[in-house]
Symmetry: C2
Subunit: 515 residues, 2 copies
């Protein structure tokens, strides 16, 4: 078999079952190899940001990497923003980037670029294969690198001739790396911090937000009175009725500092010290109280469930944490606003749904209102590069075909990777997309004044405005094969959402909140 | 004034009159500074690839750089593919990339990344400003770097606090760098090559494709019998009736080699040795005859007009080159195919139109059929990263508001930066977009077999297919405010194109060639 076939077999044997692809000429032998493999699934995205964002969503739900197939340096560049987001989510991803054949690279053909140089700032592991015979082994190494707990970005550059030349056999998969455990001293330190009698909190993130780990955190809270607080943005938060609830740190620094004020002991699990998303003139970037003592129980790459379980046991904590009660907000009526969206969503979201949240300002109401809804997974944008919501919806739906995926999506962000709708239609994915349409980069209207730009004029405001022309979201969606409906009142939205959720397949509901 | 205001003033004083922007929080003070400046124009793109591709199209027509405004590393990453294309076009571009405030960078907030590391593989000049006081001077330096003949990519990284803190005054613009001239020895060598009596060609590219330079090339051809051949892809080709015609090197290597076969003397002006776009198993990548002598009259960064004029004069060439005669192909009829598109386009394209060609396979007929049309500029994709056609149309239209821009655009490529249509509608740009719809990455169906993947199966073919679901191009276009019409016959297409070209403003005509 050729290098491409050996590589695809190796990836599959290492647990990579799906390849999100936007290939070009230099990847044709890899396309042919996917074709020949009996089980490797290939999913086409019409833009590379769709491909890499889908791989992130897939990894978060499947707990293992997908592959991506990208076309040389510029194709990879188109996917880098969502690779950045995935890396910040510590999601697992194996990027296969085609390159010119080795002899061809020196000729400086138009698509030549320094792929390794561009990959390195956004990858945890980068390698260019040196020969057809080593391509498959490099693939095995990439998979192992990507599977570092909880996940990492591996980027393998495959020169075209390494893929098309004879290569022998696939490589044997490498063992998944062990998950490092917290050491005993860290458990002892955390016990001391929580038993000090001073106001304390567990500050959670990463894998500590999974249901089983949160259960242990709840035990600790029950035993010590510590508050449970988490990062503003979390990779995958298992929440809803019957689970242990956590306070979410607010986005804006002043509010975050208020939330943490008075705490004397902060114990970190799967998270590090909270800092402001952006700096602002004259405002602090470090958000924790200056006199608080900081203790790390487990960093993001240390087994969170194990650390929390051992800590709970060391504290002699009960097996009965406080669990979130069911709560459904009253139905809304009249002109649609964020509360109307939140009320319907909270009422109608089915059990085990996956919510992909790139709602930015318009979705702020939905998050707290969903606290007592049916149990669900809440996925957020981790790297701040907007344009990942719809792609993550694709990946989540492919990782969990029996679960409903709901993309809670702001209009401005949706436009970055709007091509995602086409893949949802093509693959008949069970994704309901809610477009929260305020015809604006609303967050930036807030940020403009927060950075000290007072009295903005029409030119500044026009750079944050999406209303000229208005985007017709239904036409946009249907142009790519996803049936869509526009709603302007809370009643219309509830009814449209109910209908969309009842169907197995892609739907779009526009929540038109322009009044 | 603050650093942002000083920078924007400096850019404008250096000749940068327009800023294509997709800003975020870390660029809000730059948005406010654009707002305050009386003349700097800000144009919003809904995705960064739109922004950078527009800057490329602008520079090619205006002959000077636009600025782009991009949001930290991931925002820049989204624009890198078209920065790559622009760099390969040797277009001038000044990228302003916001970064976190200097103190904030060390905190590793979610949007932190190695911006310089990611910029360097795609830029000719990269700098991170160190202070508010130096930001404007860095901007002046960036403009000078971008204005290196014929153009270059300068990327300036502006930490937020350098933009919002007090900075004093704007910096004085720096002189545009001198344009290097060919030395006399190069002229002598070219004279010898062309007088050798052996079959000879001028091999042209870059600035040698401008009308004035081609006139000189035509004089040389008239004096020596040398053929005029140019690169397969050229940055800006001024062609049509009344201009000097040039043979275009074919895309596929075998055909290119055939075109060059028998030539013993190749003299390069604004171009270098022709190599295959991609490598293929067992096929040569170097396309020129092995026994040809290669002479460089002027590399891409040497004054092409000056070199050709001096060479023509040294040869005592007449002032009467052969000029292209007017030619209009007969009208087409029946089901629409590439010839039908070409016939109508050739007949209807108005004088001084700018054609932006990202037509890939479906547009192959149009190029030769337009040889004798009204004089026009033909812009091509230089870096091979598809998704630049529509953005370049935006930039070209803003650089030349009195000229008609026609985007000849393949469907697959259009999807990468389809958000461009929104900016066309918003800015009421005089762009007619022709979508050549074959519902396929047709070029890849050809390439799949060329790399040796015989008998592709359904999985491989599905990764190259855009027909499931079909994209409704009219709905897509109208969802973003650009009126659109679908045509299925040559007659319908001609009539729709005529109507679109008669309007001043954005229109889309779908050429549905699926039969």
């Amino acid at each position: 078999m050729n290098g491409a076939e050996a590589l695809i077999h190796t990836l599959y044997d290492a647990g990579v079952e799906i390849c999100f692809a936007n290939p070009g000429t230099s990847e044709m032998q890899l396309v042919a190899a996917i074709d020949k493999h009996p089980d490797m699934r290939g999913v086409l995205g019409l833009f590379e940001g769709v491909v890499t964002g889908a791989a992130d969503g897939y990894a978060r739900i499947a707990g293992k990497p997908a592959a991506t197939l990208l076309h040389l340096g510029p194709g990879m560049a188109n996917g880098l923003a969502n690779i950045h987001n995935a890396r910040r989510a510590r999601a697992a991803m194996v990027n296969i980037v085609g390159d010119h054949a080795r002899d061809h690279r020196a000729l400086n053909a138009p698509l030549t670029s320094d792929i390794e140089g561009a990959a390195r700032p956004f990858s945890d592991w980068v390698k260019t294969s040196a020969s057809p015979e080593t391509l498959a082994a490099d693939g095995a190494e990439a998979c192992r690198a990507a599977m570092r707990y909880p996940g990492a970005i591996a980027t393998l550059i495959a020169p075209a001739d390494c893929a098309w030349d004879e290569a022998g056999a696939p490589a044997a998969p490498l063992a998944r790396p062990d998950i490092p455990k917290a050491d005993d001293a860290a458990i002892d330190d955390a016990v001391k911090a929580l038993k000090s009698g001073a106001p304390a909190a567990l500050f959670l993130g990463g894998m500590a937000m999974m249901e089983d780990a949160l259960f242990q955190a709840g035990r600790i809270a029950a035993a010590t009175g510590a508050r449970l607080i988490c990062e503003t943005f979390t990779t995958r938060w298992q929440r809803g009725r019957g689970r242990v609830a956590v306070e979410r740190l607010p986005y804006f620094g002043e509010m975050a500092a208020d939330t943490l004020a008075g705490l004397k002991e902060l114990v970190f699990v799967g998270a590090s010290e909270p800092v402001a998303f952006f700096a602002y003139p004259g405002k602090p970037s470090r958000l924790w109280p200056e006199d608080a003592r900081l203790t790390t129980l487990a960093g993001a790459r240390i087994d969170a469930l194990d650390a929390l379980t051992r800590l709970a046991d060391a504290l002699g904590a009960p097996q009965t944490p406080v669990l979130q009660e069911a709560f459904t907000p009253p139905p809304a009526s009249g002109p649609l606003d964020p509360m109307g969206v939140a009320a319907a969503l909270s009422e109608l979201t089915p059990k085990d749904a996956i919510i992909v949240d790139e709602a930015v300002t318009a979705g702020l109401a939905a998050f707290p209102m969903m606290a007592g809804a049916e149990p669900h997974d809440w996925l957020m944008l981790m790297g701040g590069a907007i344009g990942e919501g719809l792609p993550m919806g694709i990946g989540a739906a492919l990782a969990a075909p029996d679960r409903k995926v709901i993309c809670l999506q702001a209009d401005g962000s949706a436009m970055y990777t709007v091509q995602s709708l086409w893949t949802m239609a093509r693959e008949k994915l069970d994704v309901t997309t809610i477009i929260l349409n305020n015809a604006s980069y609303a967050i930036l209207n807030i940020e403009l004044t927060r950075v000290g730009a007072q009295n903005p004029g029409p030119k500044a405001l026009s750079l944050l405005d999406l209303s000229n022309p208005m985007i017709d979201w239904c036409a946009m969606s249907e142009s790519m094969g996803v049936p869509a409906v526009r709603t302007k009142t809370a009643e219309e939205f509830r009814s449209a959402l109910k209908e969309a959720l009842a169907v197995k397949g892609p739907r779009l509901v526009e929540a038109d909140m322009r009044g």
